[in-house]
Symmetry: C2
Subunit: 360 residues, 2 copies
């Protein structure tokens, strides 16, 4: 087992990465204060892991909340069952909330933990690759609004994160690949050596080789942790983590939450950002090709959805959080392994870049 420490002032916490961590009660015991816990999971994960996890936690007064599975349920309404059940059963503010599931469950349960009685202790057990390398690190929690993704939420750090790679065995191919999109992102924004390593190990990663998986998760979490430690509330540098996300969120909102997976939308978003970076003469044509080649090897999409068009993209991108004082800011690549957050590009170039994708 590897232990990574995420250092955010007085809210630092460990990420445990390894196999079969799910049933190591002592790991959880170390972090749970008080005698009450609530496990929030979804209909897909519950039959796989819930009863065994609960069994290991019999010492606690425990309740379970099973939400429907899917990004389309990640709404303010979608988290009210958590509040309802906790209050109905009189769970106090010393209750520890455990999120068992992918990024959607982590975001919803984390936000519920942030809000219940103004904040209760919170533990993440991410069961998807995407959640293990991304959403479980950094404390972003929240829900979607019909007019924008993750528009309602909180920065709220967990007590610990337990990334059990065995849970990835049950992950379907599409979900697994979507997770790799975010792993590649770390290489692109700040870790060129990791990008090289990924180019060299992509087949083993796709084959879910345990050692390669652990290395990829660890390196991803380290990358994210470094960014988050420097800028918890995303006032500056943290925004580089959003490479591909402004385009990606536009896709997710544009075609309806839950149609594309987040990682799939980010994959296309990174290609679009790379193309704009190329238009700005920052990336070479060869660089852009390396990116699309790697994403294609994984089996990730590199073309935006046909159902959308340039106008719709621009509209939806304007509402994204990365807009400061009316100016659209994007994460672009100065080179492979070096992202910048910038609004210093001609708007027409952005239009042209998107247009290019719809010329087919």
């Amino acid at each position: 087992m590897i232990t990574l420490s995420i250092d955010i002032q007085d809210r630092s916490y460990p990420i445990y990465i390894g196999s079969n961590l799910l049933y190591q009660k002592s790991l959880l015991d170390r972090h749970i204060g008080g005698s009450e816990i609530v496990i929030v999971t979804n209909e897909t994960i519950a039959p796989l892991y819930l009863s065994r996890v609960v069994n290991h936690l019999r010492d606690y007064r425990c309740t379970e909340i099973i939400l429907p599975d899917g990004e389309q349920y990640k709404t303010l309404e979608g988290i009210t069952p958590i509040f309802d059940k906790l209050l109905k059963n009189k769970f106090s503010r010393s209750t520890t909330l455990i999120a068992l599931g992918g990024g959607v469950i982590g975001d919803m349960a984390g936000f519920a933990a942030a809000c219940y009685q103004r904040g209760i202790p919170f533990i993440q057990i991410p069961t998807t690759l995407l959640a293990q390398v991304d959403s479980s690190v950094g404390g972003k929690t929240g829900v979607n609004h019909p007019l924008g993704k993750n528009m309602i939420g909180a920065f709220y750090q967990p007590l610990c994160v337990l990334a059990d790679i065995n849970t990835l065995n049950t992950l379907d191919e599409r979900q697994f690949k979507a997770g790799i999109a975010e792993i590649i992102k770390y290489g692109l924004i700040q870790d060129f050596n990791f990008f090289l390593w990924l180019e060299n190990h992509i087949d083993q990663l796709l084959a879910r080789n345990q050692d390669i998986l652990i290395q990829a998760i660890e390196r991803s979490c380290q990358n994210k942790a470094a960014v988050v430690a420097a800028d918890e509330k995303e006032s500056g540098s943290r925004a580089t983590l959003n490479l591909g996300h402004t385009f990606g969120h536009a896709i997710e909102t544009g075609i309806g939450y839950g149609t594309w997976l987040h990682g799939e939308a980010v994959s296309v978003g990174m290609v679009m950002a790379a193309n704009l970076s190329h238009q700005l003469s920052w990336l070479s044509h060869h660089d852009v090709n390396r990116i699309t080649h790697l994403l294609t090897q994984v089996g990730l999409p590199i073309q935006p959805p046909k159902e959308m068009n340039t106008q719709r993209f621009l509209e939806l991108m304007a509402v994204d959080k990365k807009v400061a004082n009316g100016q659209l800011r994007l994460v672009l690549l100065k080179q492979l392994g070096a992202a910048v957050v910038t609004s210093d590009f001609p708007y027409s170039l952005l239009e042209e870049t998107i247009e290019e994708f719809y010329r087919y």
Copy 2:
């Protein structure tokens, strides 16, 4: 104008107390970053102050949100119009949200500010006495749940608070008196000299004498600030601020939000806590009488609502946030000016104390 500084680590902020602050644009300019603002107020306050406030802020891109007036609207659903309007009009995360109104508006708007895009800047302009001396200090924001008051929320500090005593001129008598309940609370929990001062100046305070009002507000905010600075997240000593609130919340939930005013419920709650403190031989009969006498002079209720009974009280008190690991903790008085948070009392004594109030 008096400026009080609330010191909470990196989130310190000033409270300005005085007359006619509402229209001093420079005060707001000092704190608003960016070019966008949204003013959240309610149907009662809007006709009185909104257009004049907006007029002074014409330099900014400004939108207004007018919510219905009343505690019964302080729900998760009740704050969605804020998110809807901000997103529809593409307000960015550098927008400053200004809460113009009483405690309910402050709680709702503050919570919306805490959640919109995971937190936007926030300014409080409390227009009731209760909000000026209580809810605008300390960063508690949130909404009610059918099963409990303030059960969903966040700790979120404003950039500044502007307490304009002129807004109290339009405050109806009942609201004004409800505010005095919280002022008396500060005397009871930790400032015996202030309690004495209140006994001596209660007539002038009720007459809304400007100097006396400013003194009472300042002293109250100082008291609250001291407690909050020592324990922002209410892990310990801050809970003394809840004197009368566990009983009070039971009343508000028991008879339906908005029927009694919060300050009225707290008034009765303080009398009930004082009675239990007397049962524990901490307060003398004379002490209890001084409390009920002062509250009665103000015109505040000192008897719980007839619609409730002992059983209902105990049920509702059990769900209150002050329950730690199944043990009911209450704020009681060791003497006038000295509150303690304790679960060290026989449960039967609590039952008897409530029973006593229903013996008539």
